[in-house]
Subunit: 171 residues, 2 copies
Amino acid sequence: MPRKPNPAKRPARAADAIDYGPLENWVGFRLRMAQAASFQAFARLTHDMRIRPGRFATLMLIGRNPGISQTALSQANGRDKSTLTPVLNDLVKRGLVKRERTPDDRRTYQLTLTAAGNRALKQLTACALRHDRNLDRIIGPRDRTRFVSLLQRIETALSNDKANGRSSKRG
Amino acid sequence: MPRKPNPAKRPARAADAIDYGPLENWVGFRLRMAQAASFQAFARLTHDMRIRPGRFATLMLIGRNPGISQTALSQANGRDKSTLTPVLNDLVKRGLVKRERTPDDRRTYQLTLTAAGNRALKQLTACALRHDRNLDRIIGPRDRTRFVSLLQRIETALSNDKANGRSSKRG
DNA sequence: CCGATATAGTTTGAGTGCCAACTTTCTGTT
DNA sequence: AACAGAAAGTTGGCACTCAAACTATATCGG
């Protein structure tokens, strides 16, 4: 029998002998690496269906906030509004999202999920649930809440840095 | 505390509270948002100099591991090897990195920093230090070690998933 | 030595992201 | 009503990323 390919073999002499220097324990670097790993693991879970993980949050936010505008969606999703244009074009073309003009403000669109969009969201949610349970298992139940709240604190603290002149008119 | 979905008659606006649904407390989503915020904050710090933040880890890893190959570098950096090609072309063209053929294996390159590369690394390290001290302040000294080690655990656990393959099917 | 296979790096194509400039529409001032 | 400015969305330019196909070199089995 010919020697078969060996995909499980150790990935060369790569990452085990590497000196990371100060990167080793810097939050920014570890954050990036963990995020990339998480994203790719999720991508593997959703690989079979035709929807990529980046679309998941988009569909979820539309499903939870029917009639949301593209700008509000982009802010909730942490992306620039221009990033959303090709994504929504694709989602509309595939019949997952409906885009309607708002009658009293003809600049904005109202986004809603179609029935197919709801089905896709349900499928993706199942994948995301598995993914997040996997992450939960890695993190452990004791640290989970604290971990997530720290992530959220990083997000809000650095966003405030960015828009330090922005005022909230929230009552 | 999430509010109920907006009625379809009125689009959600930026001032409205967005219902994040299960995203609210999912590790994957928070990880993505925190990483994006961290990256952009770092980008603001390095805005003045000619080197973008994505190059920082590359330079650091070459500086700490002189003679590293491109594949080993890409794995240490958590990026695909093809991503590295244009980056290294640019770094070499700008005189920050030297690329030499390995004598006994003419497929691989040996990467080292030039003097200018070391200077650039030093500058970027100063920026990164500031950035990471900022993150430390946000996280707080009590949780920092645990937080970083959890990030690292996510990274290694999901990378092992990938290496072992996610399918139980055997040909 | 030869042929099959593995590895290092490059190229290409698609997706995603930001920012700045732009069009269209709305709003406030006069 | 007319104009200026703000806001929603689109477009174009550039950067970064992955995956697959490709070239060149190395290695293993016979």
